[in-house]
Amino acid sequence: MHIEDQTLLEIDDLTVAFGDGAGSVRAVENVSLSVAAGEIYALVGESGCGKSTLAYSMLQIVPQPGRVIGGDIRFRGRGMVAMPKRDLNALRGAELAMVFQGAMNAFNPVVTIGAQVDHILQAHPEVFSDLKEGREHFDHLLELVQLSPKRIWKAFESQLSGGMKQRVAIAVALLLKPSVVILDEPTTALDVLNQRLVIDILKDLHRDLGVTIVFVTHDLAVVAEVATRVAVMYAGRLVETGTVEEIFKAERRHPYVEALINAIPSVLDAGLTVRPIGGAVPNLADLPAGCRFAPRCRSVEDLCRQTEPPLLGDGGGHLVACHVANREIVPMEVSKA
């Protein structure tokens, strides 16, 4: 992990909106975070709180009618929002790669996986000048994800099972040796064994290839298993970020994160302490005043219903956006380093 602490990807006060005018919703609002080289960065949150949107914006592929309306994303210091398409295309796949949520629909159904791999190789001749070399690399990656190259090359997407597709998608993402791989819910919808397999693969890849991983999930157990750093989102906003230990073990934390952790029945014990979080994620088009989590929060106070809490740290990288949790600490705005 020689490149540790070098910031690769920096999200700066990003706001992404879907639609415009009255019906528009801000799926991501004023989010700032930075991913350092060598990290495994987890984005966590309930369904619909903007995780995928944030992930898409990292590659500038937010689906219509979504668009970035504020802030920027910087990769190795280069702003991507205003980047020309040509430069973006050079980055995509080669430097930043993405595995889509579900991975079920990530492949062209009428072209073999092999041909799609070739397309990628041809689009980035700077990575592998020789097609054969690239193909061999892919074979190697397939072995890493425990798949047999022979079968995959000629297969159509429809001939693969869900777990296999997920792994092929991971291999494809790694094809051009990108420095960052973004995975959107790579373990969701997989059963325990496939999930474990993917977790192990991610860890192995991280260890062996030194690739930086950003992954989106709503499963805290997976976070605990894989991540080094975590950002928790709620209704389009960041509510807490920190190292995985800080998230799981620190005293000061966001009631939402706490509630999330408490809501999981664990196999580790009979789990009589689990408690559901009441209510549901608010509709982004109809947000409550003040803290967005206030309606569901156990430790809610009047202040929470009036002002949105800022994201504050106590000096380290552990930032929390909660009036109650932050009461004790010296307010210190997060540095934009």
Partner: protein
């Protein structure tokens, strides 16, 4: 007399590739008992659940409810059985008819089984909705599924299942499509019916955490490609699995505690053979079993009792190593905090 008796059931789908999805499955439950079915994706859990609920007829074997084979039920008795076995599906989006209001989803069953008449049906439905913790107003009955959240929908479909006062509910991955925040509430709701009304459950899940939470005091049956490979009381099976497959499943569960994870990872332990096809000869698991021996490849081990209602289909169940990280005390994140 047990409530449900699955005897030697084999099933092959007409539309499938001809391979049986279930092989000689034996399972029985008592009234008010919870039996959990676990296993990897595609192992036949849902299929077994659907057979139990009578949505398909098994291609072989028989399923008896309260002592009588459901295939032979006729007339009134069939209606009665139909009422007593219900199912709650996995997908809260798919299990409610998008074109019908909640009211018209709930009413036909009540009317059909004469649990209400035209006059009382509305009041009856409101009571039901109250029982599942929904906003029980007449206006709510007029809502369409798309106007409800996932959790509300799942509650509505639970309301539909309990509306017929069943004795057995097949709950197929009822929480897997729900947000984490809502899962426990739904499980608690179902549990309350088990406790208060003595409704028995066939609870399908691949999440041991959920199973352990829900099926306390009940039993777990572990399935592998259509075979029940191990069956036993919840705590015992989780703490001391007697089949390498169960062991593998438990071992694979991600642990929501980074400290524990580090500790476990440091101890090593590979993830080989997590996935793969079943063996066609001998023990079905022999292809992927870390403990496999020659005999396993030749001969299929029978599902044998190894003490107090705990059965396993492994020749070498004694040799299964203990699950270290699960056994560790105070390992839960909740515990870690305190």
């Amino acid at each position: 007399m047990s409530l449900l008796d699955v005897q030697n059931v084999t099933h092959t789908y007409d539309t499938g590739n001809g391979r049986p999805v279930l092989h000689n499955v034996e399972l029985s439950t008592q009234e008010g008992e919870i039996v959990a079915l676990v296993g990897e994706s595609g192992c036949g859990k849902t299929t077994l659940g659907r057979l139990i609920a009578g949505l398909h007829e098994p291609s072989g074997g028989s399923i008896s409810f309260e002592g009588s084979d459901i295939a032979g039920l006729k007339g009134k008795r069939r209606t009665e059985w139909r009422r007593q076995v219900q199912m709650v599906h996995q997908d809260p989006y798919g299990s409610l008819n998008p074109g019908l209001t909640i009211g018209s989803t709930l009413a036909p069953g009540l009317l059909r089984h004469k649990l209400a008449n035209r006059r009382t049906v509305q009041a009856e439905m409101i009571t039901l909705l109250q029982q599942v913790g929904l906003d029980a107003t007449p206006a709510f009955l007029q809502r369409y599924p798309h106007q409800l959240s996932g959790g509300q929908r799942q509650r509505a479909s639970i309301a539909r299942a309990i509306s017929l006062q069943p004795k057995l509910i097949v709950a197929d991955e009822v929480t897997s499509m729900l947000d984490v925040s809502m899962r426990v509430a739904i499980l608690d709701l179902l549990l309350s019916f088990q406790r208060e009304r003595g409704i028995g459950f066939v609870f399908i899940s691949h999440d041991f955490g959920v199973v352990r939470y829900f099926a306390q005091g009940g039993r777990i049956a572990v399935m592998f490609y259509g075979h029940i490979v191990e069956e036993g009381p919840v705590e015992e099976l989780i703490k001391t699995p007697s089949h390498p497959y169960t062991h593998m499943l438990l071992q694979a569960i991600p642990v929501p505690d980074p400290v524990l994870v580090r500790k476990r990872d440091a101890e090593g332990g590979g993830s080989e053979r997590l996935v793969g096809e079943p063996a066609t000869k001998g023990c079905v698991f022999s292809n992927r079993c870390p403990l496999v021996q020659d005999v396993c490849r030749k001969e299929a081990p029978p599902l044998e009792d190894i003490g107090t209602g705990h059965r396993t289909a492994c020749f070498f169940h004694d040799e299964i190593p203990p699950l270290k990280h699960l056994a560790a005390d105070g390992a839960s994140p909740q515990a870690a905090r305190s």
